[in-house]
Every structure is written in structure tokens, then in C-alpha cells.
């Protein structure tokens, strides 16, 4: 039963991930836009889980509820997320991309980051479901 739940969650997450990437690609490929600079936000999407995994690997003590390394990882992850939103805005400010494309890319960013967070939520839970 739990495995079926996880399978459903995986399908739902891949659906939202595809929606997010669709928004991103629409921001690049639509008739009036045609510029592919916004695809650079994919770099931010790919590196966003890395600080968390580095902190998890480095911290051995699982009794403590938090550690300095884990908090630094949250700090840098937040920075990567902010940067993924900042880049399209700056591209639109200097008219490299149009504001409509910027809006689509920001929407795609939001959906993709929610998907990534959903992955951590669903698959990082472990056996206990308490808060």
C-alpha cells in the first residue's frame, strides 16, 4: 500500500515537473519570443539539491535536530532559488528577453522548485510520519 502511494506520488511529481519545464520552454520557443537565454535557469535547478546532500553526507550525528552545516546548506539552497528567479528578471530588464517570456519562466521556476521540494518531502520521509 505504501509502495502504491509512492508510485502515485512519483507520477504526480513527474507531471508537475513536466508542466514546469513546459512553461520554461514556452518562455523560450513561442512565436513572439524566440530567444533561448532563459534555459540558463536549468543550471540553477540542477544545482539546487547539491548543498543539502553535501550537508547530509558531512554530518554524521543524526541525534541533533540541526547543525551548522545543515543550516549553511539551507542558506545556499535559498540563494540558488533566489538566483533562479533573479536571472530572468534581469534579462527582461535589459530587454534580452521580453517581459512575457520572463513571466512564463518565473512560473516555470515556481512549479519546478515545488516539484523538487515535493521529491524531498515524499522520498525523504523515512519510516516515521510524525512532524
Amino acid at each position: 500500500m505504501a509502495a502504491q502511494c509512492l508510485a502515485h506520488a512519483l507520477v504526480a511529481l513527474s507531471f508537475t515537473g513536466a508542466i514546469g519545464l513546459t512553461f520554461l520552454m514556452l518562455g523560450c520557443a513561442l512565436e513572439g519570443y524566440g530567444v533561448y537565454w532563459p534555459l540558463f535557469v536549468l543550471v540553477f535547478h540542477m544545482i539546487s539539491p547539491i548543498p543539502y546532500f553535501i550537508a547530509k553526507r558531512v554530518t554524521d550525528d543524526s541525534d541533533a535536530s540541526s547543525s551548522a552545516c545543515q543550516e549553511l546548506a539551507y542558506f545556499f539552497t535559498t540563494g540558488i532559488v533566489v538566483s533562479a528567479f533573479g536571472l530572468p528578471i534581469i534579462l527582461a530588464r535589459v530587454s534580452v528577453i521580453k517581459w512575457g517570456a520572463c513571466g512564463l519562466v518565473l512560473a516555470g521556476n515556481a512549479v519546478i522548485f515545488i516539484t523538487i521540494q515535493g521529491f524531498f518531502f515524499v522520498f525523504g520521509r523515512g519510516d516515521d510520519f510524525s512532524w
Binding site: 541533533a64 535536530s65 543550516e71 535559498t78 540563494g79 533566489v82 528578471i89 530588464r93 535589459v94 512532524w131
Partner: protein, 158 residues
């Protein structure tokens, strides 16, 4: 009439234990402020590329603010008090000197950014946006430092 709000309590949300998550929330808020500050400066540098509009030397304030952020947050409060088991490479006095220098750099950069805003932009009757960007970058990094340093509790580190 006096004290009529004394028995007022915020509606309780029992589902999340905020005391356990205080450090994570503080880290995330500090991250948002810090990187928003940097992106404001990047925006100003991109929109005003000529040195007459924004002198490239004004980036120095942000660089020193960032350096100060990492200096201030490199020492834990326990090391400054002398409480921690391992003394670190500087000891208690060294940690205090390090923290002092860090805070001096931070305040110096903040004051310098205010000086730049008023001396190079407000009084010169030019477009004031680059000066505001320098000021907001340093102000946001300053507040981010405070939240990251004092918003987290070391008791959660076990």
C-alpha cells in the same frame, strides 16, 4: 482599559513545531535577504554599465559586506563565550577579535554605502538608482547577517 490585550493569544497552530524549525527558518530568511541584495546590485550593474553612471569601485562595499558576513558567522556563540569543547584554532580571545573585525567590516561597508548614496548620487542630481542599489545591497546583507547570527539557536545543535 489598561492591559486589555494581556490575555490575547495568537491562534495556535499545533501541526508544526516551530521551535525545532527556528534555525531552518532563520537560515532561509537570511538567504533570501543576502541573495536579493546581491541581485539588486547585479541588476544595477547590468542596467547602468557605464562608469559615469555607476563607478565600478562601488562594488567594493558589497564584497566587504560579504566577507564580513562569513567572518561573523564563522565563529559560533559558544566559541566566543569559551564554552565549546574544542577551542578552535584561535581560542576564545581570538574568536572575539575575529568577530570584532567582522562587525567593523560590516558596519564600515554599510556606512560607506550610505556615503556613496548621498555623496555620489543624491547631491549630484543624477539618476539615483545605482546609489540606491549599492545602499540596499549592503543594508540587506547587514540584516541577513544579523538574522543568520542571532536568529539561530545553538541548542538545536545537540
Amino acid at each position: 482599559m489598561a492591559g486589555f490585550l494581556d490575555n490575547f493569544r495568537w491562534p495556535e497552530c499545533e501541526c508544526i513545531d516551530w521551535s525545532e524549525r527556528r534555525n531552518a527558518v532563520a537560515s532561509v530568511v537570511a538567504g533570501v535577504l543576502f541573495f536579493t541584495g546581491w541581485w539588486i546590485m547585479i541588476d544595477a550593474a547590468v542596467v547602468y554599465p557605464k562608469p559615469e553612471q555607476m563607478n565600478h569601485a562601488f562594488h567594493t562595499c558589497g564584497v566587504f559586506s560579504t566577507l564580513a558576513f562569513f567572518m561573523i558567522n564563522a565563529v559560533s556563540n559558544a566559541q566566543v563565550r569559551g564554552d565549546s569543547y574544542e577551542s578552535g584554532c584561535l581560542g576564545r580571545t581570538g574568536a572575539r577579535v575575529w568577530l570584532f573585525i567582522g562587525f567593523m567590516l560590516m558596519f564600515g561597508s554599510l556606512i560607506a554605502s550610505m556615503w556613496i548614496l548621498f555623496g555620489a548620487y543624491v547631491t549630484q542630481n543624477t539618476n539615483v538608482y545605482p546609489g540606491l542599489a549599492v545602499f540596499f545591497q549592503n543594508a540587506l546583507i547587514f540584516f541577513s547577517t544579523l538574522i543568520y547570527k542571532f536568529g539561530r539557536t545553538e541548542e538545536l545543535w545537540g
